[in-house]
């Protein structure tokens, strides 16, 4: 019969219409600014810079290697490398970003910068309410706006942050181990050289052969 399907459809919409007044569970709308959906842990958009400790200028993990700048598909990251070096978390002198800007009006939240960062310095944020009156300045996030503490990172992505911290700790452990070894080797070389110098001055060749791996200081001494 002609119109049968139309009547079925009309009944369905009428049921929805009246049902939405009777049964509040039908309305899945969330009245956004007043109520919000609970955020799931995997939420991510625009990147931010992680720092350790309390002082964001000292604790930035970023060493201005500029890999993220090169990899960024829409080219929204702008980095200026510093001229001088500062000691990083483990005390090793590193460059730091004199300038680190992200234009979030260009950023497409692809997370490639996070993937490529060898220092776990840049991570994805959950902040999305970035609308601003200022079309250019308001959407250009500078270093001070980007820097957020490791505690904040733990807060927004706990599982991921724990993993990152563990990996970093392991790396630092290795680094320290390496430094310790290097220091020990240097000490050993220095000791050996001192011993050699004391014992027999012409056997420098043998001494240099011994101390080949123990750093340039010994070599220079040997020369």
């Amino acid at each position: 019969m002609l119109g049968e399907g139309i009547i079925k459809g009309l009944a369905e919409t009428a049921r929805n219409f009246f049902g939405s007044y009777v049964n509040k569970e039908r309305l899945t709308t969330v009245q956004y600014p007043e109520e919000r959906l609970p955020r799931i842990e995997a939420t991510r958009d625009f990147p931010f810079l992680v720092y350790d400790g309390d002082d964001w200028e000292k604790g930035l993990r970023c060493v201005a290697c500029q890999i993220c700048e090169k990899e960024c598909p829409p080219k929204c990251i702008y980095i200026e490398k510093s001229k001088d070096k500062k000691p990083d978390a483990v005390g090793k002198p590193q460059n730091y970003p004199a300038k680190f800007d992200i234009d979030v009006s260009v950023c497409m939240s692809c997370q490639i910068c996070v993937e490529v960062c060898p220092f776990d310095a840049i991570k994805m944020d959950v902040q999305f309410e970035l609308s601003s009156d200022d079309r250019f300045g308001g959407l250009l996030l500078t270093k001070d706006k980007l820097a957020k503490s490791n505690e904040y990172y733990h807060e927004i992505h706990p599982t991921e942050a724990a993993g990152v911290d563990a990996a970093l700790a392991e790396d630092r452990e290795k680094e320290k181990e390496k430094q310790r070894l290097a220091a020990a080797a240097a000490a050993a070389a220095a000791a050996a050289k001192a011993a050699a110098a004391a014992a027999a001055p012409p056997t420098t060749v043998a001494a240099t052969k011994d101390g080949a791996g123990s750093g340039g200081a010994a070599k220079e001494e040997a020369k």
Binding site: I6, E12, T13, N16, F17
Partner: protein, 391 residues
């Protein structure tokens, strides 16, 4: 006392006109009625837009607009302010004069048709001798302004939309007029007021509306389908199909001109509904004899609002038609059925009153409806789809 409330607006106008000299009275009366029509129908338009958005929202299990004012009732005011303050962009290569004239003309014609619509007892701006003809004649000018809008924009989308709109409008205007003719035949007059008066009176509590006859209900349904197509409403909103030709003929319009097209669309819908009320639903008459103490204008606007609800309901339900479906339905179902309906109305007039003419008319219309719908269904030339790469 009910008489007094019923005629309150008429008396008010007579009272105002009493203060102007006699020579200016017809002019003054016309201006007053025009202003009243402008204000009342523009207000109804505003109410309908917010009702429509809220109703559609509820049908889709969401809230609809609820931010501007209490329950979002000030939404039309906010929309109006927004469209007034927006920049008015005229395309560089457009035909400037025609581009400007189109929205003005479409709104003027949309308002002009209300001149012959009786909104209550003694409440019609001009009781023309050929009122219904005036309605359809002025209504046909809308097509031309649609074409002007689409053509002058110099855009492919708008031209396509305009062509679709005109093709649809002239195809559905014929069944629209023909299905309205049955009421004219029964009333023996083209004057809207006479048609309403012919439907006055009650048998028991039931009114003598043309709706309550076999040809009347058929004519009413055909008229409403035609009206939906004429005003480019869902499911006949192909001329402005957002997903294919963006917004059809008014795509190149912005700001207030765009709003004027929007106003005109709704006013056209209201006007054809008002005409359907006049022709088939007894105009301002109360639906039951014991309700006649409620003023006549209330009944008119109540019926109008009810019909708008039905329009919204249908929009919330039906998907958009395809061009060939639209044309097939218009020419192969609506047109023959409205012609048969004319015949049925004539038969009704000549058969003796009683169950005979009821059964003969109903049988004739049901049978033809059934056969025509069979004819529509037979025309399915689609084959079963095969998916070559996704088995």
């Amino acid at each position: 006392m009910p008489e007094m409330i019923d005629q309150i607006f008429v008396r008010l106008m007579h009272w105002i006109i009493g203060y102007v000299p006699t020579s200016l009275q017809p002019l003054c009366s016309a201006i007053l009625s025009a202003v009243a029509i402008l204000v009342v129908f523009a207000t109804i338009f505003a109410i309908i837009t917010v009702l429509e958005r809220k109703g559609l929202g509820r049908m889709q299990n969401r809230y609809g607009p609820n931010r501007a004012g209490p329950w979002g009732l000030l939404q039309p005011a906010a929309d109006g302010i927004k469209s007034l303050t927006k920049e008015d962009i005229v395309p560089h290569s457009s035909d400037q004069l025609v581009h400007l004239m189109a929205p003005i003309l479409i709104v003027i014609t949309s308002f002009l048709v209300y001149a012959v619509v009786p909104v209550g007892k003694n409440m019609v701006m001009a009781d023309l001798n050929a009122g219904v003809l005036f309605f359809f004649a002025v209504g046909s000018m809308v097509e031309l302004s649609v074409f002007m809008a689409g053509w002058s924009s110099r855009s492919k989308y708008s031209l396509l939309g305009a062509m679709r709109a005109i093709a649809q409008m002239i195809s559905y205007e014929i069944p629209l007029v023909l299905s309205g003719v049955v009421a004219i035949m029964a009333a023996g007059s083209l004057s809207t007021v006479t048609i309403v008066n012919m439907q006055a009176g009650y048998t028991g509590i039931w009114p003598h509306w043309y709706l309550f006859t076999p040809w009347g209900i058929t004519g009413y349904i055909l008229f409403m389908i035609g009206a939906t197509a004429e005003s480019n409403r869902c499911p006949f909103d192909m001329p402005e199909g957002e997903s294919e030709i963006i917004a059809g003929y008014f795509i190149e319009y912005s700001g207030f001109k765009f709003a004027l097209f929007f106003v005109a669309e709704y006013l056209g819908m209201l006007a054809t509904s008002a005409m359907a009320i006049t022709l088939f639903l007894g105009g301002w008459a109360a639906p039951f004899s014991f309700l006649t103490w409620i003023p006549s204008w209330f009944w008119f606007f109540a019926k109008l609002l009810l019909m708008m609800m039905v329009f919204i309901w249908i929009r919330g339900t039906l998907p958009r038609l395809r061009m060939d479906q639209l044309m097939n339905f218009g020419w192969k179902f609506m047109l023959p059925l409205s012609l048969i309906n004319l015949f049925a109305a004539g038969l009704w007039h000549f058969l003796p009153s009683g169950p005979t003419r009821w059964s003969v008319d109903s049988l004739l219309l049901l049978l033809s409806c059934f056969l025509l719908s069979r004819g529509l269904r037979r025309n399915k030339w689609f084959q079963e789809r095969t998916y070559r790469f996704a088995s």
